[in-house]
């Protein structure tokens, strides 16, 4: 399955120019800073921007190009807007039926159950909280039986608690409904928790695309996307729960790593996100230090940021896994490290992604 986009769209003071073949399946994050053109690209894909020139095709079915323009209603795309856009003249059930009636969907009960919408059905949409609105909007979109689901920062307007509650619903969508998702976000946390693949957009252009771990590990993205919080995602296996010190012990590329105890099964495969600025570098395995997580690695890339105080390192920690570190250029000079050197990465903090890695 794929979505091929080759378009140009010039607006006042901004131009979007994207030629990219989206490999679909699972959740693909469309990632970038605010104003990078993510939402605009999503609107072009949905056929909501008639000013875009070029071609868009979905599974070899032309949606736009060569004088042809398939209207949004006929593309079979579902669109979840940031502001939910529920119809205020209908109640929750009315909004859901609006979609089901036009698609002939028989999944009403399934969708209501999956998103826990039963208690909301007879409510007025104006009386819903932000999180409830987005759940209804997602349900309504699912009932239109789309072939491709586009989500435009559906959690952006919500507070942290509501975000956390809604994330698992979204994570379940591709499997539960056999539906590829393109998910616009500027949050690295959402990318690592939800996405299988990601495409990075900056200033209206695609910078990189691919698997989440590889893409996040690429150094050049950090500079271009500005607000981007540089870091890496590593795979870990849980090996023990340390009851005495309340730690969960794991193996990353054969090396030990621990973090404050979490409710996970021994043997579970996890994804961990480690921010580049939480990684320090030492030439020898340090002693007399409070930091316990130390990973051995080899420097693959070393990039000095001439206009700042910092340098970024990409380390090979074995098992095909990579770790990114951000240290000062002064430290690089003092330690006299160069590409190819073996060093120790001191990990100050690890954040944890509850979603198990897909097998295979």
């Amino acid at each position: 399955m794929g979505l091929s986009v080759d378009i140009k769209l010039a607006l006042k003071g901004f131009s979007l120019e994207v030629a990219h073949a989206f490999e679909l399946g699972g959740i693909t994050a469309l990632f970038g800073a605010s104003g990078a053109g993510k939402s605009l690209l999503l609107r072009v894909i949905a056929g909501l921007e008639d000013g875009a020139e070029g071609q868009v095709s979905f599974n070899d079915e032309p949606w736009q190009g060569r004088g042809r323009f398939v209207e949004t209603a006929k593309r079979g795309v579902g669109y979840v807007f940031q502001d939910s856009r529920l119809f205020t003249h209908l109640d929750v059930a009315g909004n859901l039926r609006f979609a089901a009636k036009r698609s002939g969907s028989k999944a009403f009960d399934t969708v209501v159950k999956t998103l826990d919408l039963q208690p909301l059905l007879s409510r007025q949409v104006t009386a819903l909280s932000g999180g409830e609105k987005q759940r209804v909007a997602i349900g309504r979109t699912l009932l239109s039986e789309p072939r491709l689901l586009l989500m435009d920062e559906p959690l952006a307007a919500l507070d942290h608690a509501r975000k956390t509650r809604l994330l698992p619903y979204i994570a379940r969508l591709p499997e539960a409904f056999g539906l590829p998702v393109i998910y616009v976000t500027h949050s690295v946390e959402e990318v690592t928790r939800l996405a299988d693949r990601m495409v990075v957009l900056a200033n209206g252009q695609v910078l990189a695309g691919g698997g989440v771990a590889e893409t996040l590990a690429r150094l050049d993205i950090a500079e271009a996307s500005g607000k981007f919080e540089a870091g890496s995602v590593v795979r870990a296996v849980v090996i023990a729960q340390n009851e005495r010190f309340r730690l969960t012990e794991m193996l990353v590329a054969g090396q030990a790593l621990s973090m404050p105890a979490s409710v996970v099964k021994i043997g579970a495969e996890l994804r961990l996100r480690i921010r580049a600025r939480d990684v320090a570098i030492a030439l020898r395995r340090p002693e007399g230090l409070s930091i316990r997580n130390v990973l051995r690695g080899q420097i693959l890339e070393l990039e000095q940021e001439a206009e700042t105080a910092f340098a970024e390192l990409l380390l090979d920690i074995g098992g095909g896994q990579q770790l990114r570190a951000r240290i000062t250029r002064a430290s690089v000079a003092e330690l006299e490290i160069v590409v190819g050197d073996s060093v120790f990465a001191l990990v100050k903090s690890v954040s944890f992604d509850r979603r198990a890695l897909p097998k295979g």
């Binding site: 949905a46 909501l48 209207e71 807007f81 856009r85 003249h89 009315g94 239109s144």
Partner: protein, 225 residues
Amino acid sequence: MSWPDLAPLWLSVQLAGVTTVLLLIVGTPLAWWLATTRARMRPFIEALTAMPLVLPPTVLGFYFLILFNPNSTIGGLWRDATGETLTFSFSGLVLASALYSLPFMVQPLQTAFEAVGRGPMEAAASLRASRLDAFFSVAVPMARRGFLTGIVLSFAHTIGEFGVVLMVGGNIPGQTRVISIAIYEQVEVLDYAQAHALSAILLVFSFTVLLLVYTLNRRAPVRVG
């Protein structure tokens, strides 16, 4: 005191009813176009639509009289097609009233459609609703207050019409002798009793209609579907 002749009142109600229906049919697409277009000629059309608000009814009536004259192009075509003249006829009154009351239908509708905005229409399109489907199932119900206002204002404005009718329609009983004309004539011939009766009826009628509308408008939004 004799019971007043109610025929002029009934004629006024008929004229206002037909005019309002005609305005709904013509004004709705015009208001939608004005609310959604990015065309450069929009202000031009907007100004044209609003003209009846500023022009004295006698000026409008004067132009209508010239346009509707059987010797003019429009008046001639109408006479050839229907066998009756546009001047001094009920059809002519409807046409003149529709143009005269056009802003009272178009402006509330345009404002209501603008308030609906692109958002819900885009959402409807993403839910497989065609443009026409989305218009009737989303834009119209969401703009229902605009419709209510437009209908009431057009109806009331046409009931209260005087100058244009006098210029185009004259004073033919059962054809063009609407209530305002009848009252005017009664006053002219110093038949104050009849004038009082008809005026009072119009007063009570107008107030009742407006009261009904504002009461309905006050209620919680009507649910559809």
